[in-house]
Symmetry: C2
Subunit: 331 residues, 2 copies
């Protein structure tokens, strides 16, 4: 009764996390096929006590595959997503390639699993990491009082930009500590002991990452009237995104009510003792964990009925690999 599962981009940060998540969650895998570009072919990846040899992604890679988890770039997903779907696999793609396609459902299981049933292209899209943790936290509040406007500032980890970004942060940090000049190739400057904004995309004054949060939130929540105003910022953290979120609702909501809802929300851990020093959600503690951690739930001081939340999640797990595997589990 097991499945044949292909992981595309298996050698990347999210791909490796997908293998770990499949194993940890005892996903019923009959056969695992690890796919990557020719450059990575032949590499061995640990899985289920053994080793899987990485194969070169090609036109016949998906023959007999039941589930294809894509964690490669958007261009690979655009080219090979339809190939995998045509071969009969259910494609769950972590790139931005298909997210806003009206024929592709964009799914966070805790929020809109039902949407996954209608997938005319055989493809389901996994949302952006920053969006996933935000909608998991907002969904129970939205169901109760309808979210109208979200103002969100992110504190994003470098792992969201892949292995090379993490390595560059660590190398730059060591250089700074040793009094040497840090070198940048992944980041447009110094990431060590610094803060870097994303830059704008095309004509918009907003960055690509910011526009993803705007559009994907609406699509996942199934409500095109929700306003999202994001400022996305990269901080010198290895793994785990944090978000400072302000929410205005249609029907006023108090922090007390929000905490009651979040305490029982699926996929959420509410940190209630977070007013003590060091007891709020933190990336180093949340990294490696499945749930989205919500803390500092408090009433706005000037707009009664509006709230602030501080939301921290593992961007490689719930923000990417885990969310994709959870979709596969529930199909």
């Amino acid at each position: 009764m097991g499945k044949v599962v292909a992981v595309v981009g298996a050698t990347g940060a999210v791909g490796r996390e997908m293998l770990r998540v499949l194993e940890q969650r005892k996903f019923p895998v009959d056969k695992l096929i690890a796919l990557a570009s020719a450059r990575s072919a032949g590499q061995k990846l640990p899985f289920a006590g053994g080793q899987i040899e990485v194969q070169t992604l090609g036109a016949r890679s998906f023959d007999g595959v039941d589930i294809a988890l894509f964690s490669a770039g958007a261009s690979v997903a655009r080219e090979f997503g339809p190939v995998a779907a045509k071969a009969g696999a259910v494609v769950i793609d972590n790139s931005s390639a298909w997210r806003m396609d009206p024929e592709v459902p964009l799914v966070v299981p805790e929020v809109n699993m039902a949407a996954a049933a209608h997938r005319p292209k055989g493809i389901i899209a996994n949302p952006n990491c920053s969006t996933i943790q935000m909608v998991v936290a907002l969904k129970p509040l939205h169901d109760a009082a309808r979210v109208r406007h979200v103002i969100v500032s992110t504190y994003q980890a470098t792992s969201g930009k892949g292995h090379a970004a993490v390595e560059e942060l660590l190398a730059q940090t060591r250089a700074v500590l040793d009094g040497k000049t840090p070198e940048a190739s992944v980041f447009p400057g110094i990431m060590a002991f610094n803060v870097l904004c994303d830059w704008k995309a095309g004509d918009s004054a907003y960055s690509e990452e910011e526009l993803k949060m705007v559009q994907e939130t609406r699509k996942i929540m199934g409500d095109d009237t929700i306003g999202v105003s994001p400022t996305t910022v990269r901080v010198p953290v290895v793994n785990g995104h944090s978000e400072a979120i302000f929410v205005r609702f249609e029907r006023p909501m108090t922090a007390v009510e929000a905490k009651t809802l979040l305490r029982h929300a699926e996929g959420v851990v509410l940190m209630e003792d977070d007013y003590a020093p060091g007891k709020h959600p933190q990336p180093v503690q949340v990294s490696g964990q499945d749930p989205v951690y919500v803390g500092r739930v408090r009433d706005d001081l000037f707009e009664p009925g509006s709230l602030h939340l501080f939301v921290v999640g593992d961007n490689l797990r719930k923000g990417a690999a885990l969310n994709a595997v959870q979709i596969a589990e529930r199909l």
Copy 2:
């Protein structure tokens, strides 16, 4: 025509910066008196090509002093501020001790220098670092369109917590890179490659740092109806605070108009090319600079007439030492 200047807390992070700022700005110092606790007495600090020996702070320390710059804690300021004022010195205090006293003006020279004229206690207070850089950026916009509500998320540097905090960040970072366990005494946990929220103060769900931003902004701007909703967060940066700011006005303002105002605003550098990768304001570039850097000025996507700004300043300079010296210069 020079002045006798005392610096209280001269060996601290802000105290040392005060000596540097006085020297760099060629403040007319006839005699400089460096004061600190008995523990630091006898230390030598560099000033104007020579060395100043640190003296123990005491009841007679301020005899003949014209200007006393305090950068010690609140309890020292509460005890010795009035002593210095009684001895005839103008006291400019960087602690939180006197900031909300109705008889003590709270001054940012670019915003409300006139307030410094009325100082019945002989004391002028220097605002909190996070507040200073925010009000410098908001003032020209407030004059034009009246600020109604500010939602601000901070990315604060460790230097704002003093020398020991910076040393702990660096030591923790080295430990993590070397695979050792980081130790915490200044911070309530791991600051290296992590994000730490401030914790709450007393009965409020908001932290002390957050409540300072709420109260001090109103006092400096001279408008008790301004709403400030802050989330203050510490990031693993050595020096330079960043702030993601959303502003709603009484009269709608566009990003185009705001940029025109900010381009000519005192103490502000508007980064106009900040949509290119790495060209926005950044702590590592702003550290050591006097102005407040404003970038990513953009219209909100859902609330016409409201704006977003990204504001970065050197928290030890404009956020503390420089602001105090600028007050002294203009007196």
